[in-house]
């Protein structure tokens, strides 16, 4: 089992200022100061049908990207996470919201490190190096045990 239940997540959430992507793109400076004043970390909320039209530098102040899946069978969020890791070199947390427990092993490999399931359960990953998505055929074998998540 590579997941642990994030019991103090409710607390962790309190320390986050969640900002929808469009707002972030519109009034970034304001939001940064707001976060400083309120002693909060910034979490960028992206919908799985959003396009990542910004530059890697736009993510400098971001602690976590929260990707909200529009449905349990929407595969776009998987690619967004891979792109955040590979293309934007984002090293903060990436959370998947509204996903199936059956998909956690796949999500983790795409670079997600915490998960809010459709059932409401919240988990974080214990995998050490989440920075590089691993989807080479070699990863194929290494993925085995993670599939035992159920």
């Amino acid at each position: 089992m590579t997941m642990k239940e994030d019991t103090d997540d409710a607390l962790a959430e309190l320390k986050l200022l969640k900002v929808p992507l469009y707002e972030w793109l519109e009034r970034r400076e304001e939001l940064i100061s707001e976060a400083v004043v309120r002693k909060l970390k910034l979490a960028l909320v992206v919908s799985s049908d959003d396009e990542l039209r910004f530059s890697p530098d736009d993510l400098n102040e971001i602690e976590m990207v929260i990707i909200e899946f529009t449905s349990l069978i929407d595969g776009r969020g998987f690619s967004l996470a891979v792109m955040l890791r590979e293309k934007f070199h984002f090293r903060g947390g990436i959370r998947a919201v509204n996903v199936l427990e059956d998909n956690v092993a796949y999500l983790e490999e795409c670079g997600f490190d915490s998960f809010e399931l459709d059932s409401g359960k919240v988990f974080s990953s214990c995998v050490q190096d989440i920075a590089v998505p691993n989807h080479s055929p070699i990863g194929f074998a290494q993925r085995l045990n993670r599939l035992k998540f159920n």
Partner: protein
């Protein structure tokens, strides 16, 4: 053949256990039926007209005799003693019980087989030329690359929830026998000026209700560029393919909407940023894959060449129709027709499966291939053993000499099994066999590729048949749309409509008229396809609707 590693074996067991759990959770009401259907599809389990159907993957159509025996066991233990080979080189079982599926998967897993990603909106079984590795016109054996793509695409974390299904086909020969331009991605292996392997890539081909011929997106990718490029195509499709409409969600629609240039631009933008080193670690395995396929071929290299001279007209006819040249002159490739007059095209009994497994063991090291035209192939049979092989096949009704002829039709399951069907296909195939007997014994009609689909989804490949038949529903009655002149290959073409749909009662007569018209009009050794190409649809249309005149209505 490629042999699974222990890790791959373990994975199949884990996956079967996982599916077992998912079924239990579903039965306990813990998974919503809509979501469960997505999970079951990714394990090859469909709902059909009468019962569930399990589709088992046969990667690039290559089967060992031990695997064919396991399929026979599955057919006996969990089904009604037969299986059905599909147009994508897989096999389907039509009568399993859902509760038995995990047990079926365990039997299969023991012989390195599974049903992972044989359905659902994900990357499906990789298909290829049935003559891969043994074709006379081969430039490079595509199977090591098929195997690499199989590993890359199996449980791919990013692409398990695509807008729709996604199919790959590879070809390594001058002639394309794998319909690469009618797949979501088709790959042709070529050699560059230095003799290094390169890849020409076609994208956005497919049949279905909007048939499209794949467009060239890359003319010459290197080995190092291939996987990153494919990953980029899939990512662009995953992000931008339509998810709002089932019939508009294949990649062909996206490519057509954007235009191939704009689509290519998006792909190349992704390609720039992809971590190529990570992906290309798999190239280190290429030599191992190549060896897995080569070693097998070498076993026959020293067989002596002997003339086949048996005075048996039936045998001679079989050699002419069913035996294909091999790149090694002392070997032959033997097609086994699964188009017997009384069975559904592509069906095979467990008894026949075991017989073929035994025959393969004694004639060609136990290697069997599935052809997308729903027949089997025994590659690399010593040329001097053909007569014995023919005699052995005859005992099991497996020596019908009709490969490529009109009775060797492709046929989807249609109304007999499929819940999407508009019309019968299998009964049509059986009737055609009965009614054409005298016509076919009187004339040499040669190759006529007849392909039948029971609905617009085109699983029977009707768009690329010399004669294509599409079932349509008119007020609950079965009617059929005929097309002529379709073909696969690098110069693929979609068939042209003959005229208004034809009623079930008249369709066999209409087909007869088409064949008779060909016999009347052909010049010397011209094939059906060549005659249609020379004269167009016109003369055929005239004969069917006016000349010989069928009464085109319900009786």
């Amino acid at each position: 053949m490629y042999q699974y590693s222990d890790a791959e074996r373990q994975q199949l067991t884990v996956r079967a256990e996982q599916f077992d759990q998912q079924i239990k959770r579903f039965q306990q009401g813990q998974i919503h039926p809509d979501i469960f259907s997505q999970l079951r599809l990714r394990n090859g389990l469909y709902e059909q007209r009468h019962a569930p159907m399990l589709r088992v993957a046969i990667p690039y159509g290559e089967l060992g005799s031990n695997q064919l025996r396991a399929l026979a066991d599955v057919a006996d233990q969990f089904d009604q003693g037969y299986g059905h080979f599909t147009t994508r080189q897989n096999i389907q079982f039509n009568w399993p019980k859902m509760v038995n599926v995990p047990a079926m998967l365990k039997v299969l897993a023991a012989e390195d087989m599974h049903a992972i990603q044989t359905s659902g909106s994900c990357i499906r079984n990789i298909s290829t030329d049935h003559l891969a590795g043994v074709a006379v016109d081969e430039v490079e054996d595509p199977r090591p690359w098929c195997e690499m793509l199989r590993q890359w695409s199996t449980l791919h974390p990013e692409f398990n929830w695509l807008p729709r299904k996604f199919k790959f086909a590879l070809s390594g020969s001058l002639e394309d026998r794998a319909l690469i331009r009618l797949h979501d991605i088709g790959i042709q292996l070529i050699l560059d000026q230095q003799g290094k392997t390169c890849f020409k890539v076609f994208v956005g081909g497919g049949m279905g209700r909007t048939p499209v011929i794949g467009k060239e997106i890359a003319s010459q990718l290197t080995e190092e560029e291939l996987l990153p490029y494919l990953q980029s195509i899939l990512r662009v499709y995953n992000l931008h393919g339509r998810r709002d409409h089932k019939y508009k969600s294949r990649i062909k629609i996206l490519v057509n909407d954007l235009g191939i240039e704009a689509f290519r631009e998006k792909v190349e933008e992704e390609f720039e940023s992809i971590d190529k080193r990570n992906l290309n670690e798999s190239l280190a395995y290429l030599d191992q894959f190549k060896l897995a396929f080569k070693r097998h071929n070498r076993a026959h290299a020293s067989s002596p060449i002997k003339q086949i001279s048996v005075d048996q007209p039936q045998f001679t006819a079989w050699v002419k129709r069913n035996v294909v040249a091999h790149k090694n002159p002392s070997l032959r490739n033997v097609m086994i027709s699964l188009k017997n007059a009384s069975e559904a095209p592509g069906d095979i009994t467990s008894h026949q499966m075991r017989a073929i497994a035994d025959i393969a063991d004694s004639y060609n090291n136990g290697e069997i291939r599935v052809h997308h035209e729903q027949n089997l192939l025994l590659p690399s049979v010593p040329a001097d053993r053909l007569f014995d092989l023919w005699s052995a096949l005859q005992k099991f009704e497996l020596a019908r000499a009709n490969i490529g002829e009109i009775t060797d039709m492709i046929c989807c399951p249609g109304m007999d099994y499929c819940s999407l069907a508009n019309a019968d296909t299998i009964p049509l195939a059986k009737e055609l066999n009965q009614k054409f007997e005298s016509l076919l014994t009187g004339y040499e009609t040669g190759i006529i590729k007849l392909k039948m689909s029971g609905c617009m989804n085109a699983c029977g490949h009707h768009h690329v048949g010399d004669i294509g038949i599409l079932g349509v529903d008119k007020k609950g009655e079965h009617w059929y749309q005929i097309t002529l002149g379709g073909q696969g290959g690098l110069d693929a073409q979609l068939g042209l409509r003959l005229g208004p749909a034809i009623h079930r009662n008249n369709i066999i007569d209409a087909l007869k008229i088409l064949v008779e018209t060909y016999i009347d009009l052909r010049q010397s050794r011209e094939s059906f396809a060549e005659t249609v190409k020379r004269l167009g649809v016109g003369p055929f249309k005239e004969q069917v609707y006016d000349g010989k005149g069928i009464r085109n209505q319900a009786a």
